[in-house]
Symmetry: C2
Subunit: 311 residues, 2 copies
Amino acid sequence: MALAEFDLIHRFFTQKPLKNSVNQLGIGDDCALMEIPEGYQLAITTDTMVEDVHFFKGADPYYLGNKLLAVNLSDLASMGAKPVAVTLALTLAKVDEQWLAEFSKGFLSLAQKYQLDLIGGDTTRGALTLTVQALGLVPKNLAMKRSAAKVGDLIYVTGTIGDAGLGLKIKQGYQSENPELPLKQFNQPLPRIAEGLAIRNIANACIDISDGVAADLEHILEKSNVGASIDYAKLPLSVEVKNYIETTGDWQLPLVAGDDYQLCFTISPENAQHLSIKCQQIGIIEAKKNLRIQYKGEIILLDNYGYQHFS
Amino acid sequence: MALAEFDLIHRFFTQKPLKNSVNQLGIGDDCALMEIPEGYQLAITTDTMVEDVHFFKGADPYYLGNKLLAVNLSDLASMGAKPVAVTLALTLAKVDEQWLAEFSKGFLSLAQKYQLDLIGGDTTRGALTLTVQALGLVPKNLAMKRSAAKVGDLIYVTGTIGDAGLGLKIKQGYQSENPELPLKQFNQPLPRIAEGLAIRNIANACIDISDGVAADLEHILEKSNVGASIDYAKLPLSVEVKNYIETTGDWQLPLVAGDDYQLCFTISPENAQHLSIKCQQIGIIEAKKNLRIQYKGEIILLDNYGYQHFS
């Protein structure tokens, strides 16, 4: 790109001064510099979103900027890490001022909410491809790993699930009486940062629900070398999702729909008594491998490919 | 992408166990985890390479993987940071086993050379777009910033410059008697990690030469609020570049050609006596703004847009 274009882009993303004291040097040098306080580990995650793959061509740029960051922060939340910094690699087909203004507003508004700094990035020309790397802090030995589930742990999810999936169906034409909540959940998912911080002292394994609770829970089971049973009747569903299931018969939606970015975690029964966040127990970790779902008196088995068994 | 494709890709990039003790958890969870030793800062940089923009369609995938990592490590080198970890966001139009095998070999061979771990990443489908984030360690207060040049500092470069630029010209059809060195410099630039570590105690400002020594030095001048004079006759040139200039008359090549990834740094005359690396003084930092180039008795001025003045 020409220098003038770069200047334009930098203008939209300028965030000064640095908000978070761990960040010692931001955009404008060969590297950013960060200082990690003693007793903490750095958590690092990266996610890419590609036009026509992860979002529709012509998607609202404000929501896109917001969601791109939210998806990455959600990975930090699931480890119990507090976000502190982010880098953005922006590949753009063209420099569209209006688009950039909205995209950066959506991105930076979420960054502002969590007081995190945009410390670096790269801007290149090409097919619209957005890569974020998010950096967070977690006290040593408190990070919630996928491999930490133990037999007897209770399985919980935060919030309600299936709403973002219903939002997608509404965008694709499904008529809902109350589309606002599902659409908001689809367009502007909130990373469960506060929840991750609240449970990291007492929970064992944790994952964020990006691919559907069934598939994501399977990742925990695989890494922890355990199995699980979940009770469909216990899944926390919004009124809208309940109505959708009643209308369409598509009861699998809350199990297989992704993009909710709620947390799914496992915790010992003793520690579960100390839970202070809004969450719902949906099952239990068992020694017997695989994921079993109790649904209307039947037990449904999922194979290694998660929800593919359903379709 | 389908799960089987992801498995394939992961197979090529598996690096086990973690080599560097600061990396506590690598690929396979929501985040990687890293522990920064006391007294150190973390240096973070990210660069994207796009097909048809940063490399030719059909470029050799081994060299591509190698260069993608080298370009990022070069940014760490210019801060005086020691690389410890890297993440890779890979957007691929299709899953081509042969291509992936070569690309990953080129990438991992350089990672292996510096004992750094691939701790995370994302794989998506789309136009070929490659983003790396590299993480390094530098003792507190030793990072060489662009803003640290002082009036009276001597300006040095490592190695020779213009070779990668000549390599590009050879790829584009220029006939050279000895094309090996320029082509190697273009295809497989080596990040100047050892040089960065060797000078961080004594140098002030430093930058890696990615856009040509004139344009890159200008970044130092701008951030440090100073000017500089360089003496063209002192530029360290290889025999091949000298022959090229003699043959073509294109004397500007070593000033404006990028991709060399040598370091350009400033250092006080006292400290310069302690330099232990192979490097060449090319000029001096002055209070008078802008970059002046002495060439055959004339003084050539560069404006803020660096080499654009030349063309």
